[in-house]
Subunit: 663 residues, 2 copies
């Protein structure tokens, strides 16, 4: 059975150059090469095997994960991998652990928030992993609202130290990854108190564990917060609980780039602009958007391959049943997700450029584009993670009963991924931040020229007045028409909210009252961004036979899917008539027929290894049923023919001797 | 800390009689009493403890589940519980196992599909649990399409036996609950072959395991199919894989009520109408709808209580932060789910009556209402399970980060519940069955008087012509207005589909082409049923101060939530103007203020024990944070201060000695 390819006929149907599409998906030849190499490096190394993960208990799971991380760090050093390569190596190991925090939170925080002197001391230690750091912000009773944190850092001028303390149960640090069992140090956020006076929440470098024996230092109580959703998923991570009982640290372990405390206990705000802090947030969220497209592409790849293998109903004259992917109901659920994966991929590439641009400007003390960049990343993080989490579970359902098996890979992918809807800014809270930005933009129409992703508000008058002119389904196949529809919908919803807000005496009350509508308006704005950036990408050169045409089809699918899904918005704002909405929906169904023969090639273009997919249903060779069958027999639960417990708890029932059984 | 009630102030705000609401929710005083007694019986017995489940490995989890089932069966006998009481006892144990199949599939199938003679032999054995049965229908390659099954039952006239055989890998029985490790017998569905001739798919009683030593009988290979979504969830169930190698059973073990095979090998169809078979399906799905309301109510109870305890942002002058439940964004996500739980509860009660009525008619050979009952149960199963699964995960997200902890109860509830979207009829496949019924109803307008839930098609002309007359938000507070809006939307969507279908030469092709739209039309029809039945319930007597008024508010919330969510339908069909839709949405937000003070009392009215909820976040006393903190320390992962693996895999990194470490 080795060497079979049950999908080869499907692969032959492709109307575009798959290798070229792989490059388009990856972003460049270089990006393709590095991801391809790192994915295969991981896939071919038995240390990184992951199918057995769900069978391990928490302690073994964790230990195994530590082993993988150490082995990876050794590989990175032995092979002299670049930072970029190392990042992808970690990515393909596909297992959350303390190194994520080290590289994505601890090091960037040190880089961004310390003085030159502090950098000199701490950065080499962190970059060599001579210390392992966590990012101890959230508390048991406090999440998104940093200003509500309860942990205190009280300055003691006698000893030139801060006293870090957890005054209540709810002030226990709770959730930080890597903190529960691994981290030697933490960046701890606490309320700075000098002379009984509160001076805001700041970060402090606190050593948590002994470098000798890894025991928590005196005054520190630290452990793991317990099991999370899924078998493996985030359970390889030691999210922690941490309490301080008057722990003393030297004064110079406060992160002092933006504000300092002097030896005399004076609180000084430096001239380094606070806005610099937002840069890190923009960076992290930008990565989350890129990860969303990756995660969604995995689920879509599994569901597409399995829908092609799976047959159900529709047998004619005793012939084979119909491939599930040929049902319009399956296509109407699956193909928009396939298109979304590509859409999110391209918007994440754009976001990366935007971030690079912002970083350069920040270096020049130009903060003008920061609010827009902040709104973009917040909104796109919210949009893409919500759609991806839902999309993964939809893919699971599209695999029917077998999607419910852990061996399908989908339950674990969902359990792992869905955390992204909550971490680094809860999705609805983030959309409300976009709303604040939109409301401000609307209020400044005519006063200030809107730029970047809000430039369309400069044409708000036309967008409010002119309705869609589509008359036939074919008229919809026009990018100008599509962009304008999304612009008009977003502009009208934002302006409507603005007008209603203006009627409130207290604008904060109005904002609270209208918040559900504001969230909808923000979503419309963010969807416009995704659609526009997809279209802009298509206007660039994309080499390879048929590649651009295929992406054009996916772009239309994404846009028309949204128009149908949010038909209510488009009709309520009066921009579309119901006839025009129906034509878009008709066109959407036509496009499915163009996607169908290319479906397998489109998911092959993600270039996912079977290791990365971790799914029997999504196997490249489509050899699903024999492998599912094999896997069942390999399960340790099948080690014994008569299961433990049958003798004690089933036979007495069958023999009607339960009254005398020991239960 | 024992005896605290952090929610007591919230409880005092209730504007209705909670005890009376409990009865309204349960359905009657009797129903309340039996559920209350059984829930407490389970909650107070340490054998049924379930918090430690996620920590058990599969074998221990399974063994523990067998123990609970045996203990429960002993209780049922010792306490002489009625069938109704036993059913609730099993329900509150909250753990899928083989007894579910015994009582919900095996016994009903024997009752419904065997002859009187067969009943006499098999029913007492099953009812005393001297045999344990499973329902072996689905195969590795075949799910919903029973006619596609591959297992064969070949009649051998020489020995008067059937030879049961699995000819291919894909013909392996796959998924049946209780089959993997427990069942002694199975009702096996197989293609009947007599003399080389295929006579349809039928059920056969096949003994699978020895009554002496529980080993599989010769020719039978049976085991468990492996891990499923979640830690505990469905992993307490031994969903099985089963293959037959020419297994012989006596001829009289075919289920012979509807068709028989004679000793001579003649296939005879009895005069018992085949429609009787659908009765069982209607019964099972009706139960699923009732379970949906229960499952959703658990999630809503947890999220509501925690949203009341949780505070975030909005602190004024150093005072406490705002309760999360006071945010409109939280209310707009949570309260519609609260209303949905009640809506599903009442429609399930109605469905139970419908089923009783159908059963009586079937007994009199009256099949006239069966198609409608079948469509109702299929559609409502699909609607309520989909909304419940989504609702549970939405509740999890509404609990922020802590909802991601297994100790919140929500990840397990989701992983367990979401299977309902797929089993007993995949949700989209079921909606397409409703579509067939709707299309038929539409095609018979003017020919046949539509009855029951389709009666509104009798007024289709008016529903197509007259648009909504609402002018102010207050106008919406009228049940006639609401019902008519849902009727008009459903009728217009169904008629539109009917008209477009008529344009296809081949109606099957048309049906396939329009299937995504047909699914939407069917959903509209089913939502109308839920709304109408809620309203009908309100027209009956509901005792208790303020109870009916409160339910009226929830009914409006449910209806306006749907109108907003499906605004696109209501606008596209032209029944509502965008102004009217906006007024409904305005009214919806007004109603949230009426729900808010009653929210805790409304979830208390579900009468869920803390055991049943299985959630620290949902505790009755609201004592969330100290209990989360305690639970973390009880986790076995915290048994050792320095975790296993640190010495081997972390210290060499910190000490830069990785090159010589054994990995």
């Amino acid at each position: 059975m080795e060497g079979v390819d049950y999908l080869s006929d499907e692969r032959k149907k492709a109307q575009f150059d798959v290798e070229a599409m792989k490059v388009a998906w990856a972003g460049s030849h270089e990006a393709f090469n590095v991801t391809d190499r790192m994915a295969k490096l991981v896939a071919n190394d038995p240390v990184f095997e992951k199918f057995s993960k769900p069978l391990l208990d928490r302690k073994d799971l964790f230990k195994n994960s530590l082993r993988k991380a150490a082995y990876a760090w050794k590989l990175i050093q032995d092979l002299r991998l670049s930072d970029e390569e190392a990042k992808w190596l970690r990515h393909y190991i596909d297992e959350p652990n303390y190194t994520d925090l080290q590289w994505e939170m601890f090091v960037p925080a040190l880089e961004g928030q310390t003085t030159e002197e502090q950098k000199k001391k701490w950065l080499p230690l962190a970059k060599n992993m001579q210390i392992i750091g966590c990012y101890a912000q959230t508390e048991l009773g406090h999440g998104s609202n940093v200003q509500g944190l309860e942990t205190t850092a009280t300055f003691d001028p006698q000893t030139d130290e801060f006293i870090i303390h957890s005054p209540t149960i709810t002030s226990s640090k709770w959730w930080p990854g890597g903190m529960g069992k691994v981290a030697t140090h933490g960046i701890v956020y606490a309320r700075l108190i000098i002379n009984g006076q509160f001076h805001g929440v700041h970060g402090f470098i606190v050593q948590l564990r002994s470098m000798d024996n890894h025991f928590p230092l005196p005054g520190i109580t630290v452990g793991d917060i317990g099991l999370k959703f899924g078998h493996g998923a985030y359970n390889t991570m030691d999210n922690g609980v941490l309490r301080f009982d008057h722990v003393r640290i030297p004064r110079n372990q406060m992160l002092m780039r933006v504000s300092q405390v002097t030896k005399e206990g004076k609180f000084v705000v430096s001239d380094v602009p606070r806005q610099l802090m937002y840069g890190t947030m923009v960076s992290v969220r930008q990565t989350i958007v890129a990860d969303a497209s990756k995660a969604l592409s995995r689920a879509v790849c599994i569901a597409t391959r399995y829908s092609t293998i799976r047959r159900q109903f529709g047998s004619r004259n005793g012939g084979p049943e119909t491939q599930v992917i040929d049902y319009k109901t399956q296509q109407s659920r699956l193909f928009p997700l396939l298109a979304s994966a590509y859409a999110f991929r391209f918007v994440s590439e754009w976001l990366k450029l935007l971030y690079t641009n912002v970083k350069q400007r920040l270096a020049d003390n130009d903060f003008s584009t920061l609010p827009e960049a902040h709104a973009c990343t917040a909104g796109l993080k919210s949009l893409t993670t919500a759609a991806t989490a839902d999309g993964i579970d939809e893919c699971r359902k599209l695999c029917g009963g077998h999607g419910y098996l852990v061996s399908s890979g989908l339950p674990e992918l969902y359990a792992y991924y869905v955390a992204a809807c909550t971490y680094e800014g809860e999705n609805v809270v983030l959309m409300l931040q976009v709303s604040r930005f939109l409301v401000k933009t609307v209020s400044e129409i005519g006063i200030k020229q809107p730029v970047g992703t809000t430039a369309y508000f400069g044409r708000v008058k036309a967008l409010m007045q002119n309705n869609c002119t589509v008359q036939t389904a074919k008229d919809w196949l026009n990018i100008g028409t599509i962009v304008e529809a999304f612009e008009a919908r977003a502009a009208r919803m934002a302006v409507d909210c603005g007008q209603r807000l203006a009627k409130f005496e207290n604008s904060e009350e109005g904002f609270a009252e209208l918040s559900p509508d504001l969230v909808e308006a923000s979503l419309a704005h963010c969807q416009l961004i995704v659609v526009s950036k997809f279209i802009e990408r298509l206007q660039q050169e994309i080499p390879g036979k048929g590649v651009k045409d295929m992406l054009q089809v996916l772009c239309y699918v994404y846009a028309f899917f949204l128009i149908h899904k949010h038909q209510g918005d488009f009709l309520a704002t009066g921009y579309l008539t119901s006839k025009q909405a129906a034509l878009a929906n008709e066109q959407l169904k036509n496009l499915y027929s163009k996607v169908r023969p290319n479906a397998i090639a489109l998911v092959d273009s993600f270039n996912h290894t079977d290791h990365y997919l971790g799914s029997i249903l999504g196997r490249y060779d489509g050899n699903v049923y024999p492998k599912l069958y094999e896997a069942a027999w390999k399960d340790p639960f099948n080690d014994s023919i008569v299961a433990d417990g049958i003798h004690q708890y089933i036979q007495p029932i069958l023999r009607q001797t339960l009254h005398s059984a020991k239960l």
